[in-house]
């Protein structure tokens, strides 16, 4: 199957380098992220894929000594996400993140999803109700929680908690969602639900996902990037990468020949 449409750019890394202190973790990454597509980042542990993912919402700013070089351009406004004058809080309003382990706040289901909106100053009950319902529906968990929105989020199952975290990320209407191994702590059924959800989500939002599960990358993504030792080895359509990768190193990794 070919991807026939010409995708538009949502973001683009340009000559991106990243340093944890002296250690160079990302080496001159150039890569497009296409609008309303799923892009998967694969590679062995320590290859820099999570570091790269976290650069998008400036997570590294939280620790001193970390340093970016180069740009991540965000479209349509062509903002450089890494520019010093760009407020990381603003960035995170537009770019949501879902982590490996579900991390709901110790609050009710409703308040978890409403949190980002409240931070933004939204206090109108009707608006909050609407947006929370919309986000929970978007994360395919509404039917399971609609009768117990006041319950503690921690009472949900792992898979439900992860979908709640996705709803929380969706509530502020982000343009880009970052998933950092979102299913590695889930069982196969919950994993299937999240993958199905990703497929639905890309109708309205661009997704960048780090996964250790290559079959998952093959299933959910439109584009795949293989990273190794901080370098972007190969970027291409997922259909091509998993049938005929161009680079020998990609081939070795996805066929399980990495020694």
């Amino acid at each position: 199957m070919q991807i026939h449409d010409n995708p538009t750019l949502k973001a683009e890394a340009r000559n991106l380098n990243f340093f944890y202190g002296e250690a160079k973790a990302l080496k001159n990454i150039n890569m497009p992220i296409y609008d309303k597509k799923v892009t998967a980042l694969i590679g062995p542990s320590g290859c820099g894929k999570s570091t790269y993912l976290r650069s998008f919402n400036r997570m590294h700013d939280l620790y001193p000594g970390n340093r970016y070089e180069g740009e991540i351009r965000f479209f349509p406004d062509n903002t450089n996400l890494l520019a010093a004058e760009v407020d990381p809080i603003e960035v995170r309003m537009r770019i949501g993140m879902v982590f490996q382990k579900p991390n709901p706040f110790p609050k009710s289901i409703f308040e978890n999803v409403a949190y980002g909106l409240r931070v933004r100053g939204e206090n109108n009950k009707r608006v909050l109700d609407d947006k929370v319902e919309h986000a929970l529906k978007g994360a395919a968990i509404w039917d399971e929680v609609k009768d117990r929105l006041a319950d503690l989020a921690s009472n949900l199952s792992g898979g439900q908690q992860q979908r709640l975290c996705i709803a929380r990320a969706l509530a502020t209407d982000p343009e880009l969602l970052l998933f950092d191994e979102p299913t590695s702590a889930l069982d196969p059924i919950a994993t299937g639900a999240i993958e199905e959800l990703i497929h639905e989500l890309k109708k309205r939002v661009t997704i960048l996902i780090v996964t250790h599960n290559m079959q998952q990358a093959a299933r959910v993504s439109d584009y795949t990037a293989y990273m190794f030792l901080g370098e972007m080895v190969e970027f291409g359509k997922t259909d091509e990468i998993f049938i005929k990768p161009k680079d020998k190193r990609t081939e070795d990794y996805i066929t399980g020949r990495m020694g």
Partner: protein, 230 residues
């Protein structure tokens, strides 16, 4: 193609046993065809039984290899060159099995001709020639598979045109022959069926070669004309 070993040595063993089974099956089909040609030239009707027996082994191997492919996909989820190899093998065995069926058709045609007391002497040379060409194609296609050599596979594909031309030439000769002497129609028709089977063996060898190109290079080179039209 990738010569490096997998992290799982069992995976390597599974793949290499799959490949050797394909070559074993190919060897059987080659034998079927060469035996059928011999039978045609020498009138050895007894060889027909042997060819039919070999066909049972070929069929069993086809099923076993397909089964191994399915298990390997289920257990290992092969990707990239491994996926192309498994996928290609599953297609190659179909073509090999059909080439074996064509050998069986040749054998049965030979039996009909000789049991009717007819001798196809006059046209024996043409048939023998095209049969050798088709058999060489199959041998080279299997060789290309064994060595994962897409260059050799491409040569097999090119050779198919000669077999096709030769088949048409035999057809013309036999039609003329039948018009000249209608008493030869029954035998001539049998010879046409045999020539047709040989021409099909060439096609199957070409298909095997195309699968080899896909396995090695990831290019699907089947039906080039159709693709250009699209």
């Amino acid at each position: 193609m990738n010569e490096k070993s997998h992290l799982s040595s069992q995976f390597d063993e599974d793949l290499s046993s799959l490949r050797s089974h394909v070559l074993q099956m190919g060897g059987l089909v080659e034998t079927q065809i060469s035996t059928a040609i011999e039978a045609y030239s020498k009138g050895e009707v007894s060889a027909v039984k042997l060819i039919v027996e070999t066909d049972r082994k070929v069929n069993a191997l086809e099923k076993a290899i397909d089964d191994d492919c399915a298990h390997l996909i289920a257990k290992r989820q092969p990707a990239a060159s491994d996926l192309r190899l498994v996928f290609g093998i599953s297609k190659i065995v179909t073509d090999l099995e059909r080439a074996g069926d064509e050998a069986k058709k040749i054998a049965k045609g030979v039996r009909r001709i000789y049991e009717a007391g007819q001798m196809p002497s006059q046209y024996g040379i043409g048939i023998r020639h095209i049969a050798e060409a088709a058999l060489t194609m199959l041998r080279q296609a299997l060789d290309a598979f064994a060595r994962l050599d897409s260059g050799e596979a491409m040569r097999v594909i090119q050779a198919d045109a000669e077999v096709d031309t030769e088949f048409k030439s035999i057809m013309r000769q036999l039609i003329t022959h039948m018009m000249e002497d209608p008493r030869t129609i029954t035998t001539s028709m049998d010879i046409i069926w045999i020539a047709r089977a040989i021409e099909r063996i060439g096609d199957h060898a070409k298909n095997v070669a195309e699968h080899v190109v896909f396995i090695v290079e990831g290019r699907d080179i089947r039906h080039p004309g159709k693709e250009q039209a699209e």
